[in-house]
Amino acid sequence: MGESYSAFLYLIASICFIMALRGLSSPDTARGGNYFGIAGMVIAVLTTLATPHVVSYWLIIVGLLIGGAIGTFIARQIQMTALPQLVAAFHSLVGLAAVCVACAAFAAPEDYGIGVRGNIHGASLVEMALGLTIGAITFTGSIVAFAKLQGLVSGAPLIFPGQHLVNAALGAALILLIVLFALTESPASFVLLVLLSLAFGFLLILPIGGADMPVVISMLNSYSGWAACGIGFTLSNSLLIITGALVGSSGAILSYIMCKGMNRSIFHVILGGFGGEGVVASAGHGAGDRMVKSGSAEDAAFILKNAGSVIIVPGYGMAVAQAQHSLKAMTDDLKKDGVKVSYAIHPVAGRMPGHMNVLLAEANVPYDDVKELDEINRDFASTDVAFVIGANDVTNPAAKTDRASPIYGMPILDVEHAKTVLFVKRSMASGYAGVENELFYRDNTMMLFGDAKKMCDEIVKALE
C-alpha cells in the first residue's frame, strides 16, 4: 500500500477516534461513539499490516490472540466497583507498550525510516527519549496507583524525609539524560533513561494519598496519551500524534475537574501527603463526649416513607459495600409510595471520575434521576430527607466555614439544608481527608450505623 493511501486511512481512523469522544456528550449517542472507536482501531491496525514494512505475520497474530484473549477475559469478569484499579492497570500497559516501541525504534531505526543505527536523526532522538520517559513514568506510576486502589499497599501517603528533594533531583537528572542521549545516542544513556524514568514514576505516585486517587488516575490517563504522542512524533505518524493529543488533553481536563472538585491545585496533589493520619489533628472539635442521635432501620424507613422528597448522596462507602442494588430496591419502594427520589453526585465521589454514575447505572437507576452537584445543590433546601450513604467529606460544612480545615474551599453538597439528614456509616470514623464532620452532631441528623448494603436491605424490609 502506498504511503499516501495509508496516511489517508490513518486520517479516517483519527476522525473515528474524535467521533468516539464526541459521542460521549450524551448517553444516547455514547454507544455509537464506541463503535466509531472500534472501527478506527480496526482501520489503524489493518492499514499498518498492509504497509510494506510488515511482511511477517505469525508473531503479530500470536500477540493479538494472547492479548485479545486476556483483555476480553478481564473486561468481562471485572466488577464495576473495581473499575478504577482496572483503568490504572490498563494505563500501565500503554506505558509499557510505549517503552517497548521506543526500544524497538532505537534498536532498529531503519524499520521506521528515522536513520540507521548509530546515526538516528537528532529530532527523532529527542522525541524518542520523551516518549520513552513518559511511557516509563506512566508504567510504574500506574502500577503504584493500581496497588493502592486494589488495597495491595496502604492508601495512606508514603512519605520519607527529603522526598521532594529526591524527586526534584531525579527530574533534573532525567532532563540531563535526555539531552545527553540526544547528543551521543549511546545505548548506556538509553538504558539509564529507562531505569531512572521507572524509578521516577514510582516515587511520583507513592506519596499521593487515597483521597487524591481520582486526580492521579486522570493524570496517568493524560500521561499515557502524551507517551503515545511522543512515539507518534518519533515515527512521524499523524495518527499517533492526534490520538495521543486527544487522550492527553482528555486526561488533563479530567484532572482539572477533579482538582476543582476538591479545591486543590494539581501542584499540591503531585506533592502529595494529603489524607494521612497527620491531618486528623487539625479537626478542631473534640469529638469525644458529644452526643449523636443514632437510629435503626425501622426509624429510617418511617422517616423516608413520610417524606415528600428524598435526595440520596452516595459515596465510595456505597461502592465498597456493593450497596447500589439494595439502594435501588429501597428507592423503588419509596417511589411506589409516591416519594420523589433523586441522586446527587459529587464530582469526586468514588475513586475515579464518574465512578458513582456507573455504579448507579449498573443498578438500573435511570440516569435522569442522577444529578450533578451544580444541578441539584439548590434543591436540598426544599427537600425533606437527605440520605447520605457512604459519603462524608463531600457533605462537610466545614469546607465552607472553617478556614483551618484541610478541605476548606472544597465545593460540597449542602445536605445540611434538608429537613432531616440520614447518615449511613459503619462508624464515627472520619473520611479520607481525616476531618471531623460537624453534621453528625446536629439535631436534625440521624446516624444509621452499619454496613451500607445491610442497612438498605433492612430498610427495604421495614418499608414493606
Binding site: 483519527s14 477516534f17 469522544l21 460521549l24 456528550s25 448517553p27 444516547d28 464506541n34 472507536g37 472500534i38 482501531m41 489503524a44 491496525v45 499490516l49 514494512h53 510488515v54 511482511v55 511477517s56 508473531l59 500477540g63 492479548g67 485479545g68 486476556i70 476480553t72 478481564i74 464495576m80 490498563f90 500503554v94 507498550a97 517497548c100 516501541v101 524497538a104 534498536a107 532498529a108 536523526h121 529530532a123 527523532s124 490517563n221 496519551g225 503515545a228 512515539i231 512524533f233 515515527l235 495518527l239 500524534i241 490520538t243 495521543g244 493529543a245 486527544l246 488533553s249 482528555s250 486526561g251 479530567l254 475537574i257 475515579m352 464518574g354 454514575n357 440516569y367 442522577v370 450533578e372
Partner: protein, 136 residues
C-alpha cells in the same frame, strides 16, 4: 593512423562511458531524492507539520472533552485508554520484518500489551455504556 575502424571503436568506447556516466548520474539523483525525503532536517517542514497536527489535535481534544457529560467520565477514561493503545501501530512495524531480532521481540511484547488494552478497553466501555441505556 586515422583508420575508420579504430575511430569507430573509440567512439563506441566513449559512448559506453557516457552511458555509464549517465547511469551513475541517474542513480545519484535518485539517491539524492531519497535522502532529501528521508532527512527531516531539524526545525524544517516535517517537524513543523507534525507540530501543527499536534496543536490542532490538542484543541479538538479540549473542546470535545469539555462537552462530555460528567455522568460518562468513567467511560471516557476507559475509551481514551483503549484508543491510546493505537500505539500498536508502532509495535506492528517493529514486529513485522522477517527474521529474528531484539526489535522484533520488543514489537511482539508491545503488540500483546496493546491488544490487552484495546480489547479490554473497548469491551469494558461497551459494558458500561450498556448500563446507561434508557429503560423503556
Amino acid at each position: 593512423m586515422a583508420d575508420p575502424a579504430s575511430l569507430a571503436q573509440t567512439a563506441g568506447e566513449l559512448a559506453g562511458t557516457a552511458q555509464q556516466l549517465a547511469n551513475q548520474l541517474r542513480d545519484l539523483a535518485q539517491t539524492l531524492t531519497v535522502v532529501s525525503q528521508q532527512t527531516p532536517a531539524v526545525g524544517t517542514t516535517p517537524f513543523v507539520f507534525e507540530l501543527t497536527v499536534f496543536a490542532l489535535a490538542v484543541f479538538v481534544g479540549y473542546y470535545v472533552v469539555w462537552r462530555v457529560t460528567p455522568a460518562l467520565h468513567s467511560p471516557l477514561m476507559s475509551v481514551t485508554n483503549a484508543v491510546s493503545s493505537v500505539i500498536i501501530v508502532g509495535a506492528l512495524i517493529a514486529a513485522g520484518p522477517h527474521g529474528f531480532s531484539f526489535a522484533k521481540v520488543m514489537g511482539f511484547v508491545a503488540v500483546t500489551l496493546a491488544a490487552v488494552n484495546i480489547f479490554g478497553g473497548f469491551i469494558v466501555t461497551q459494558r458500561m455504556l450498556q448500563m446507561f441505556q434508557r429503560k423503556k
